[in-house]
């Protein structure tokens, strides 16, 4: 439910983004009749039975896959371990390169695939977190097997990992309305501009790199990505200070 609302708080598309997105949807025949430039970011949520050709693009005459249809938008993969392993691994290169190149005997096609990936999963097959930390070997190993179905390189490409705790019934049933999306969107747009200013030269600080590289699980990719992600809360508050422990908690474990 939260993932569906992400597209409504992302900054509005620029002209270039709207043009690219409209082109892709036009080629697939997904534009409605009498519709012009797409104004809203696409949100795609394929079922976990999807094939790799449908997700990434493929077939004898490749059409844009779900990742290209989510270009400049959000691709939501619910129940991530339920996806076939080959399908998830096929996403490694597009997640890195922001495009997907399909080669056939007679031609080569490149589709853009710059999307925000949102994935959701349970910690164990039963859905209960207690199994992952249970004292019973069988339950713990089942939970570990479930989590290990996701490969390290794929997880390395995911910048933020967030644990969502159960919400008490009293909190769920309260009638107080939360903050509207329009207000959040304004803050996000301002924070994006702040981020763009910070990293306009695209250089990470040496001190930050040294700090990131010291963590045993850091790869070169995660070292590069950690600084932009860790500065996220600072951008939201327009603060020049260094990232807090709260932001570090979201980073690649």
């Amino acid at each position: 439910m939260l993932a569906k609302r992400l597209a409504s708080i992302l900054p509005p598309m620029s002209l270039q983004e709207a043009l690219e997105t409209t082109e892709i949807h036009s080629v697939c025949g997904r534009l409605k009749e009498n519709s012009g430039l797409m104004a809203t970011r696409p949100f795609r949520a394929p079922h976990h039975s999807i094939s790799d050709a449908a997700l990434v693009s493929g077939g004898s005459y490749p059409q844009p896959g779900e990742i290209s249809l989510a270009h400049n938008g959000v691709l939501f993969l619910d129940e991530l371990p339920e996806f076939k392993r080959g399908v998830l691994e096929a996403m490694r290169q597009p997640l890195e390169d922001r495009e997907v190149t399909i080669s056939r005997a007679k031609f080569t096609l490149t589709y853009p695939a710059s999307f925000t990936l949102v994935a959701a999963m349970n910690p164990s097959p039963s859905g209960y977190f207690e199994e992952a930390t249970s004292s019973r070997n069988g339950l713990r190993s089942a939970a570990r097997r479930y989590q290990n179905s996701l490969s390290g390189p794929l997880l390395d490409r995911i910048d933020m990992h967030i644990e969502v705790n159960p919400v008490a019934f009293e909190a769920l049933s309260q009638t107080r309305r939360g903050e509207p999306s329009a207000a959040i969107r304004k803050r996000v747009s301002a924070a994006c501009e702040c981020q763009a200013q910070r990293f306009k030269d695209r250089k990470t600080s040496t001190a930050m790199r040294r700090c990131n590289a010291a963590r045993p699980s850091s790869s070169a990719r995660s070292t590069e990505q950690e600084e932009p992600c860790s500065k996220t809360p600072c951008n939201a508050s327009h603060s020049p200070r260094e990232p807090t422990t709260e932001s570090s908690r979201w980073l690649v474990p």
Partner: protein
């Protein structure tokens, strides 16, 4: 007589021009070459029915149609309209002077009506790049193609409007510049808002600071080639 009509083929998310060469000579038969797929091969039946229902005659002579480049596979049913226009021009039922100025694409119904096509926007971008004066396509795709600047878009309802256009009997105006703004109500329907999640504090904290790495795109669309026509009609976020 040999006549050339211009269409386009969508390859990936860009388009390439396809020249439809129609030659009518002595003999009998309908020969379509240039690697057409089944949908293109079936077009002769749709064209025949549409022409007969509109009161035109389908020439009973040897019709040879080449879709150049001949080594590129042609797919889809969007070639019906250029093929029909080419057949009519080659049989003398339509003047052929203005045919080279326009890109023509559209699927035909049996009653002569035009059905929407896929890829109208990349086709329009390529038409402008190639220097065509205008783009003739189904009315349902006109608004999408009108995003491209410096290209007259003629959205037609049926084949008889296309015939009138080339005969010059009724003047067709390019698609109207008065685009209405996209309605914000439809935007809120498709993008649910967040107020109901007041209880999820942890998630909301993360949501207030979503990933800001940006959507870096490696795909380029040269804006100097395809600027949207009507800045006043764009959504506010897209205005320069």
């Amino acid at each position: 007589m040999l006549v050339k009509v211009y269409g386009g083929s969508v390859f990936g998310i860009s388009a390439t021009m396809v020249t439809v060469e129609v030659n009518i000579d002595k003999g009998v038969g309908y020969f379509l070459v240039g690697l057409p797929d089944n949908a293109v091969k079936e077009s002769c039946h749709r064209i025949h029915a549409a022409l007969v229902n509109l009161g035109c005659s389908f020439p009973g002579r040897k019709i040879t149609i080449n879709m150049a480049p001949a080594d590129m596979r042609k797919e889809g049913s969007a070639y019906d309209l250029p093929l029909a226009i080419g057949i009519l021009a080659a049989s003398g039922q339509l003047p052929q002077d203005a045919l080279s100025d326009y890109l023509i694409m559209g699927e035909l119904s049996l009653d002569g009506g035009l059905q929407p096509i896929k890829g109208a926007l990349p086709l329009a971008i390529q038409a402008r790049e190639e220097g065509f004066k205008g783009f003739i396509l189904p009315a349902q795709n006109a608004r999408e193609a009108a995003i491209v600047d410096d290209l007259a878009i003629y959205g037609l309802e049926n084949l008889s409007q296309a015939l009138d256009f080339f005969k010059g009997e009724k003047s067709q105006r390019p698609w109207s510049s008065k685009c209405e703004r996209p309605s914000t109500s439809s935007e809120t329907k498709t993008n649910p808002t967040s107020p109901m999640y007041a209880g999820k504090k942890t998630s909301n904290a993360a949501w207030r600071s979503p990933p800001q790495g940006g959507t870096t795109s490696y795909w380029w669309v040269p804006l100097e080639r395809a600027r949207p026509c009507w800045p006043s009609a764009w959504p506010p976020s897209c205005r320069p």
